[in-house]
Every structure is written in structure tokens, then in C-alpha cells.
């Protein structure tokens, strides 16, 4: 159970590592929780623990990720590139987190899915009483990223 207590820290570490190494984006953790987003992704996992990771991303952040990842200009960024890039980021952050959580066991990860947020919904806020939910929010030059992890023992 000790590792469970460190999950919020692990989300931050894994997110930093993936965004810095693969997207050359430096994130800053923020306390704000009620963030607006343009796109959300989800990946599920099974293993000694099971659950899901969701990411809530602003359009500006995803565009920057695609541009940095593929060395292309803003005009060249397409919707399919944005979705592909956001899904891949979710896959990498989740895989990295699970490796840090328990490197001795195998986890089976789903193919990540992606949805646009056309209704202007805000990222769900998890309360202190939700023991199997962890949340982290980041900022990069005014663009936002939210990560929501749900995990329980199998």
C-alpha cells in the first residue's frame, strides 16, 4: 500500500519525464482543479492493480506537442495528428507510471481512445474521500494538462 500513497508524486514524475523527453515541453504543477479542456484521452490497464488514466488537454498544448514531436509548423498540424499525439502521450505516461509503481509485474494496457470536448465541460474534480482517484494539473505557458488516475487492487 506504500506505493499507493506516492501515486500523485508518480503521476507528476511520469508526466514530466514524458513531456520533457518526447515533446520538449516543461510543465509546472498547479493547484487549480476546475480546468477547461478541448480534448480528453483514456487508457485502461490490468495487472496486479487495475484502473484507468484520463488526460484533459487544451488545444494549444496538443498543437505544441505535435509541432515539437514532428518538427512541423502550426499550419501543418492536422486533427488526426493531434489525436494521435494525445493518445500516444497518454500511453507513455500511463506505461511509465505503472513501471515506476511496480516494475516486476506485467500490465496489460488498452489502446488509448480520444474524444473532443465540444460541450465546454470542465475536468472532473476528485474529492479527498475518493480513495482510488488521484489527480494532477499542470500548466505550460498558459496551456493546461490534467491527469486523472483511477486505480484499485485487482
Amino acid at each position: 500500500m506504500e506505493a499507493m500513497g506516492k501515486l500523485r508524486e508518480m503521476i507528476t514524475t511520469s508526466t514530466f519525464e514524458v513531456y520533457e523527453k518526447m515533446f520538449f515541453i516543461f510543465l509546472e504543477p498547479v493547484e487549480r482543479k476546475d480546468i477547461a479542456y478541448d480534448m480528453s484521452t483514456e487508457i485502461t490497464f490490468k495487472g496486479p492493480v487495475e484502473g484507468s488514466m484520463k488526460m484533459y488537454l487544451s488545444d494549444g498544448l496538443v498543437s505544441c506537442m505535435v509541432q515539437n514531436m514532428l518538427s512541423i509548423s502550426d499550419e501543418e498540424v492536422s486533427d488526426s495528428m493531434r489525436e494521435d499525439c494525445a493518445r500516444e502521450a497518454t500511453n507513455m505516461v500511463c506505461g511509465n507510471l505503472l513501471r515506476n509503481y511496480d516494475s516486476s509485474n506485467v500490465f496489460s494496457l488498452s489502446i488509448p481512445t480520444c474524444q473532443k470536448n465540444n460541450q465546454g465541460d470542465l475536468m472532473p474534480v476528485c474529492s479527498e474521500s475518493q480513495a482510488d482517484l488521484w489527480q494532477a494539473v499542470f500548466d505550460s505557458d498558459g496551456e493546461t494538462l490534467g491527469v486523472l488516475l483511477q486505480m484499485q487492487r485487482s
Partner: protein
């Protein structure tokens, strides 16, 4: 000497970034083929020779491990070295990949130098582009 590389990943963006990282690393790449899953890779191999395959594990249609099994059963393609790229790099998963015939393993996210190192290792190339001495008979990597 330059090498033909095949990148197998269901993410178009990831294939693009792997290709970019290989170029950034200074590895001598000639042709670069891309496939979206193991099945597409097997089809491409029918008409193209590659020196090394870099493949994701978790893919739809045919996974990286399934592709490895198909390759190892094939007389012509069985010796092509395959480097697995994955996010979930547990020791058990790595052992599983090596048992299926993978020659190297790299965990996402990775740096250009990490990829160049593993490419050089599996191809037996020194950093200067020449061939190095390889210990052992089968070039297996320690992990």
C-alpha cells in the same frame, strides 16, 4: 555503411518521432519503412529487405510479440534483429519479448543516444560506423 530500418507502430506520430530521433542520433540510416502493425510489417517485408526492425508491442491487428513469432518461424526473416519499444517495460515483459526472439528493448520515453546505442548494439556497429567485435555466438544482449 547505412542500414534499412523498419518502424512498426500504430501511432503515426510515434513513427515520425522515432524516425526523427534516429536521424538526430547520427545513426546511418538508408531506407526507412513504416508499418502500422505487425501484419502490415510482414506484408512490407515480402518486397523489401530491412536490416533492423523497431517495433511497438501493444498494437491492434497484430501485436509486436505476434509479429516476432511469425518472423522467427520464417527462414528468410528469422535473422532480422528486432528491437521492441514499449511504455510498460517490466522485467517480465522484457523476458517475454526476448523469449519471442527480440534482440533489444527500449523503454518510452527515450533519448536519441539511447536509441542509437541499442541500434549499434544489435547491428554490431561501433560509434564510428565500423563493425565492432561481438562477444558470444548469438549477440544476445544482457538485460
Amino acid at each position: 555503411m547505412s542500414f534499412n530500418v523498419m518502424i512498426v507502430d500504430d501511432s503515426n506520430a510515434m513513427r515520425g518521432v522515432i524516425k526523427k530521433i534516429i536521424s538526430m542520433s547520427g545513426f546511418k540510416m538508408d531506407k526507412c519503412l513504416e508499418a502500422g502493425n505487425g501484419k502490415e510489417a510482414m506484408t512490407l517485408l515480402e518486397d523489401n529487405w530491412v536490416d533492423v526492425i523497431i517495433s511497438d508491442i501493444n498494437m491492434p491487428v497484430m501485436s509486436g510479440l505476434e509479429m516476432l513469432s511469425h518472423l522467427k518461424k520464417d527462414d528468410l526473416f528469422g535473422d532480422i534483429p528486432v528491437i521492441m519499444i514499449t511504455t510498460e517495460g517490466s522485467s517480465t515483459r522484457m523476458e517475454e519479448a526476448f523469449q519471442h526472439g527480440a534482440r533489444g528493448f527500449i523503454k518510452k520515453p527515450f533519448l536519441p543516444e539511447d536509441l542509437k546505442k541499442i541500434l549499434n548494439e544489435v547491428l554490431g556497429v561501433c560509434d564510428d560506423g565500423g563493425y565492432g567485435e561481438i562477444e558470444g555466438d548469438d549477440n544476445d544482449l544482457d538485460f
